[in-house]
Symmetry: D2
Subunit: 159 residues, 4 copies
């Protein structure tokens, strides 16, 4: 295991960044939608996504499912930042205003509660100009496993 | 206006089908994800989607946002079936089990309430074998306009 | 332990009724609001509540919290019917129409999903005439313990 | 109309306080539960409630319906603070920890969005010691009418 990974296991911020990088590398859906990580931290994340032609619905505005997907992805990066595999158990979203082709959306995730296996996270979705698009609240559930397997159990450098 | 469209304006089932066809033709997001309409009716719809590689998240299961998008699309086709433009104002989803690459998901939308401008719709997402994947509930809000403009006001054939 | 209790442990319907009776006897909130059990079954319940003067809010209609409480109580009786202590982890409610003083409300709970420790239940609230008042969806979480302690482990009559 | 009311119509903070006082005087449910207004402001409120014996459920903890009612009441005082009659259209609550007899709960409501007829409000419920009990999110809908009828239209003192 690389020295960098070892350090990650001891520094919460470095750990959050290492986990996000690992998740990203295998997150086909986020990659396909062009979602970009702006920042991550323990229990937090900020992601960007451009509204593209293929994200529009039959009303010619960004499909609610694409807005949800951006928010849900921000949620995933925030709640997995401790390197304990965590999934969404339930989510709710309020759509406030339509998003249009060419706009860039920012989703910012914040941890509101974390106790035992469950957490609650709030995610706001806004345009870069700060126009509110949606409010998302997600409930997380920690399952067995780690995002980067074995990281926290490493005690000695292996390289 | 074609004879078929005129008939659609008078028959709720034909109207629902005409609206679905019109929405589908301009629903870039649903098309990009390979979502297919199995059936529609007034206040109802049934849609299919195959879980593809680019729908997987960092845990190697179908991204919750893709499951939401399928359900939200079924919701849209059900609540717009009366040809009055209707958008989602809020949605909630409970994730019950992971969906895997290669599985085909079916979302079935049912109207639970419709009064004034607002409605409530329940959407179930299951595999073709009937394994429950998610339960979705959406609140709709009717705005100005029609999906197929002018349809219900047509009174004489124009072709 | 009474013969009746022993039988309850072996018959799901009798168990649901015994659990409801036990919960009711110590459910101060449901008693204070005059909530009445109409029927219970495994994963199901039907409860009644009269809208009284002290349930009205500042708009002179039944307080949403009282409608929620009725629905949440129906949820509790349905999800505890297996005699495994189960609590609400999250609930959502859509208010469809106001309820007025003197009306009797019926809440009917139905199990939509139950897997592992978590379940999803739908509760409808209507007047006796069938006017829809609210739609409630609750997520349950099974914790340690039984509503009637020791019931299922009883194998020999003790009286 | 009293001089005080005239001033209320011009000062948002005074208006919020006058509306809260008027709502409270006819809010039978809040009074019956002993809910107390700690503070109000435009789009905000803070309320207190003691967990009493008659609020306990069959698990001997505060009934979720009572916690919801406190949060929903805080929501109502926040979203009606502009003196435009506003009702809850949908609410969601996440229960984080049980509340016990004798504890005093504080619900703090904050406006997250307000556009046109609809708003979104977040309400936190905590004990006085700051232990999180529940997170509530409510969607408001403004209907016709004013809480204090005619207040904003008053232009000349009448006393």
């Amino acid at each position: 295991m690389a020295q960098q990974a070892i350090e990650s296991a001891q520094d919460p911020q470095a750990l959050a960044e290492a986990v996000a990088e690992a998740m990203w590398s295998r997150d086909h859906a986020a990659q396909a939608l062009g979602i970009r990580i702006e920042s991550v931290a323990p229990g937090k994340s900020s992601l960007l996504m451009d509204v593209r032609q293929e994200m529009l619905n039959g009303h010619n505005i960004c499909h609610g499912g694409m807005i949800f997907t951006l928010a849900d992805t921000a949620f995933a990066y925030a709640c997995n930042a401790y390197n304990q595999t965590t999934v969404a158990s339930a989510c709710g979203i309020d759509f406030l205003a339509p998003a249009r082709k060419g706009e860039t959306l920012r989703a910012v995730a914040t941890e509101r509660s974390l106790a035992g296996r469950t957490g609650v996270y709030d995610i706001t979705v806004e345009t870069l100009e700060g126009r509110q698009i949606a409010l998302f609240r997600g409930k997380s559930y920690r399952i067995a496993g780690e995002v980067i397997a074995g990281l926290q159990h490493a005690t000695t450098p292996t390289t």
